[in-house]
Structures are given as structure tokens and as C-alpha cells.
């Protein structure tokens, strides 16, 4: 993998240097850059379908949304009133639900990311330690990743209801005092949503860490052990640092995933009670589809998009730093 990145880096800078110059066609094509140029056919037609579909459709939608965000529109009336940037002003100055949704997204990201990382590493270490039934355990932890949240939602609604199986379990393990309407009250609804998300995505974290751990140099572990390091010490000082790349990638995926959160809070708690599980995605949906405040929903969408974009740029910068580090190390 490192090899590929290195090659790619070199090649990119190379072709970047030549693409500016006009191609030397025919004749004395001994110089390597010119030769490469001649050997590379024009590629624009090849990327055109992707651009039309991806960029065309999506940028069209973004442009359209940007226009709608300046309107006070119910989505149906033929003559929507233009209100300039008023929708944005209202969102930032007098919309407590928006800030609630932002806060939930941040809490959601931090909690689910930390829990998934911890569980993922623990599972990966355990599965690498020759336990019995390892494959079965792996299947159980990974199956939630492939199940649609929309299909599991009724299961969780039932499970966390007041006389659901979760309360039943609490009673039977002697924690009857904790029995409560988990999704029916503000204080526990968000933790339930986060627990469902952790249940769903830990399998992916685990599989990634599992793969990353297989690449750790065994002799390094042996050496540490000979030097007297115990299991815990090995985990903290050797295993965890060598997983850094995977952790960064998972953090980025998790952040974008948190911004996109819709299915679970919408289907399990309908973003309630009293907006306790409101996220940006569910808020936009409520505003646009249910309340027909299309202009306002569009302004929310644009804000969501800008935040996602900022994260994408961070993704690129971090990714580049990582590549540079790897190169420097060699």
C-alpha cells in the first residue's frame, strides 16, 4: 500500500510538469516526457459520463438548493417571495432547534467514534489472540453492518419500549431500578440512538483494525515481550500507535457519517421527544417535506453542505500529511 502511494505521488508531480506544455507530436520523440505525452490518448471523453452524472446532477441540485435558500417558499406556490439571506440569518440568530441538532451531531460523533474505536480495537486484539469460536463472533459483530437501519428500526423501537426486552433484561440481571421508557424520554433517547449506531458500525471498525493488526511486524511484538512488556503495555505502546492511519480514516468516515445521520433517529424516535434526537438530516427533512418550509430547509441544506465540505478539505490535508510522513520515514 505504501508502495502505491509513493509511486502515485511521483507520477502525479511528473505529469503535472508536462501537461502544461504543448505536446511534441511526431519526430524526435526520444525525450521521455514527450514520449509519454504522445502515448497518452486524450482522456476527456472517458471521464465525461462520470462528470455528467456526478458533477452534473449533484451540482445542478446544489445550485438549485442555493437558489431556493433565498426564497420564502412552500414548494407549491407559483410566485415564491425572495427574502435574500434572511433564512440564513434566522437559522443562526433565532433557531434553537438548529443549534440543538448541531450539538447532537457533535456529541453523537464523539461518543460513537470513541466507543467504536475502543470496541473495535478490543475485538480485533481478542480475535488475534486465538480464542475459540472466533469466526462465529466475527460474524455476529459484522452482520449489523450489512443490515439496513430501516429494517432494524422496528426491532429497536420494540426492544427499548417500556415493556420491551431491554427492560426485561435489566430486571432479570438485578438492575430493575434502571427500568425506564428509554426512547420515550428526552434524557435517554439520544444515548439509545448512539447505542444503535455503535451496534451497527462497530463491525466495520473491528474488521479494519483486524486487517491493520495483521500488518504489524511480529518480531517487534516478540522483542517487546522479551524486554518484559506485558499484554497491556504491548497494546498501548506498540499496537495502538501502529493503527494510527486506520484511526484517522475512521474518524473522517465517522464525522461525515454523523453529518449524514438520518435513518436511525428518524425511524426509531422521529427526532423526538421534543427534538431530543434532532439531527441536521432529520431537521431538513421535517422542514422541507413535512412543514413545507422549502426555502428554510434549503438554507439548512447549504449550511450542512458547507460543513461537510470543510470536513472533506480536512480529509485531503490530513491524507496528504500522512503520505508525506510515510515518504519521510523511508
Amino acid at each position: 500500500m505504501t508502495e502505491t502511494t509513493g509511486v502515485r505521488g511521483a507520477r502525479m508531480s511528473h505529469s503535472g510538469g508536462t501537461s502544461g506544455r504543448p505536446a511534441l507530436r511526431g519526430g524526435q520523440g526520444n525525450a521521455s516526457p514527450a514520449r509519454r505525452q504522445r502515448l497518452q490518448a486524450p482522456g476527456l471523453p472517458w471521464i465525461l459520463p462520470a462528470l455528467v452524472l456526478g458533477v452534473g446532477l449533484i451540482y445542478y441540485c446544489i445550485g438549485y438548493t442555493g437558489y431556493m435558500s433565498t426564497l420564502n417558499w412552500d414548494g407549491a406556490s407559483p410566485n415564491p417571495e425572495s427574502v435574500g439571506l434572511n433564512n440564513y440569518v434566522r437559522i443562526f440568530t433565532s433557531d434553537p432547534v438548529f443549534w440543538k441538532a448541531v450539538w447532537h451531531t457533535v456529541v453523537f460523533f464523539v461518543v460513537t467514534f470513541v466507543a467504536q474505536t475502543a470496541l473495535g480495537v478490543i475485538f480485533a486484539v481478542m480475535m488475534h489472540s486465538r480464542i475459540k469460536l472466533g469466526i462465529l463472533y466475527k460474524v455476529v459483530v459484522f452482520v449489523p453492518v450489512v443490515l439496513a437501519p430501516a429494517i432494524m428500526a422496528p426491532v429497536f423501537r420494540q426492544m427499548f419500549s417500556i415493556n420491551g426486552q431491554f427492560n426485561w433484561l435489566l430486571e432479570h440481571v438485578g438492575l430493575g431500578a434502571l427500568v425506564q421508557p428509554w426512547i420515550g424520554q428526552e434524557s435517554t433517547a439520544l444515548p439509545v440512538i448512539m447505542a444503535i449506531t455503535i451496534w451497527q458500525w462497530t463491525g466495520l471498525t473491528f474488521v479494519l483494525y483486524f486487517a491493520a493488526m495483521s500488518q504489524i511486524d511480529q518480531s517487534m511484538l516478540e522483542a517487546a515481550r522479551i524486554d518484559g512488556a506485558g499484554n497491556f503495555r504491548t497494546l498501548v505502546s506498540i499496537i495502538w500507535p501502529s493503527l494510527r492511519g486506520t484511526t484517522v480514516a475512521l474518524a473522517i468516515l465517522g464525522a461525515i457519517g454523523a453529518l449524514k445521520t438520518f435513518d436511525v433517529p428518524w425511524l426509531v424516535t422521529i427526532a423526538g421527544p421534543n427534538n431530543a434526537t434532532q439531527f441536521l438530516g432529520t431537521y431538513i427533512y421535517q422542514m422541507t417535506i413535512q412543514l413545507a418550509h422549502v426555502g428554510y430547509g434549503a438554507a439548512l441544506s447549504i449550511i450542512l453542505l458547507l460543513v461537510a465540505l470543510a470536513i472533506a478539505i480536512i480529509l485531503q490535508v490530513v491524507g496528504r500529511e500522512r503520505t508525506r510522513e510515510k515518504k519521510g520515514a523511508r
Partner: protein, 262 residues
Amino acid sequence: MFEVRTRWGKVLLQVLATLFVLPFLFPLIVMVQGSFAGAGWGNYRAVLGVPGFFRFFLNSAIIAAGVIAIVYVVTMLASYGFAKLHIRAREVYFWMLLVCLTLPEVVLLTPLFSTTQQLGLYDTYWSVILPLAALQVPFAVLLTRNFIHGLPDEMFEAARVDGANSMRGFLYLVLPLTRPIAAAVLIFTLIGAWNDYLMPLVFLQSQDMQTITLVPQFFVGEFSNDQTKILASAVLTAIPEVVAYLCLQGLFERGLSAGAIK
């Protein structure tokens, strides 16, 4: 990773692992056990007896197949272009695609809603297939382009010297050599399309167009909130996914994790 030499240590580790895994199993047990509550197998019979139940599966399959076909063709063409052919301002185009990577689908709802209605595409498969494909393409291109970058330039140059044009290079070099990454693209596109909820919810209104992710809601109406039958329908809709995963375990795990490994 861990060295556990003593007998007790081994037992302790096994017990710990089991304790950690059980919470993951619990919702699945709840689902299956709940689906048998009350009428037992009768719940399943009632669900399977609902006319048009298989229509949901068929619709999901059609949509997933459509998305996969479009994403595969478009991605392979574009990745080849980006990785091995000459394009002016290539990085600009690539960045324009990458921006779409982070786009939450809820942002697309209103523009697509009015546009599909104007074009007469509303409540057709296209109104779900096209946006889903558009959302999957950037990521698929990112993965595949990196993969094709790793293929040696000399091979493509040799083919060209031997008189192969870029189309032949594509057919005889790119397509066969990209199979491993194509499998990954296939899996995450399949899961993305099959499990998607929002697009079918908004764009597929007719009963006989709806996908399996809308099944629970359909049965809330159909059985006036009879939880046991709703859970039975959840089990039935989950079975194809679980079976597919069990049969292609390695492929699923590699495919889904391809995103986090650069």
C-alpha cells in the same frame, strides 16, 4: 496479539470475548424471538400471504442492479481516464468529483423532487437509481483511480506501441486487471443501494414500486401496528442480506473496508 499462556488466562479471555459479543447478538435475538411471539409461524404465513410482498424484493433488486450497472460502467471509464490518459486540468475535474463525496443525500431532495416531476420521472425507478448512482460514483472513482494508478504505465505504453488504441487498452488491460477493486465497488454499491431508505421514501409513492426498506412502514399500516408481524417482516427482509454476507464474507469485509484503507 496477546500472549495468554495460563489456562485461567485463556478461560478469562474467552469469557470476556463472549461478554463483549453478547450485546451485539441481543437485538438479533429480540428480532427473531419477537417474530415468533403470539401466532408463531402464523406471523410468517400472514406476512408472506400479503399480496405483493415479493414485489418489494423485486423492486430493491431492480434498483440495486441499475445502480450497480451505471456505477460500474461510469467508474471504470472515468478511473481509466483519470489514471492513465491525458486530460487538461485533470485535478480540477477530480476535485469537483471529490466534493460530491461528502454530500448528504437529504440535500438533494427538493431539487430532485421538482425536477423529476417536471421530467415525468417521479415515481419511476430512475428517480431513485440516478441520484443513488450519482452519490456512489465519486467514491468508486476515488478507489478505482488509485488502483489503476498502481498498474505500471509501461504496460499501457507497450500496448500502445503494439498498436492498441485506448479503447483496446481499456477492454484488454483495465477491465481484467481491476477485478479485485471492482468487487469492492460492487459490494459497497450493492449495500448502499439495497439499504437506502430516504430516496425510495420520497420518490416512490406507488405501492408496487416500493423497496424493502419501506416494508416495516407498510406493515405498520397493514397490520395496524401488530409488532410480531412487523418483526416477522423484518426477519424476512434481513435474510437475503445475511445469506449474501455469509456466502461472500471475505468480499463483503474487503469491499466495505476499502473505503478506509487508502
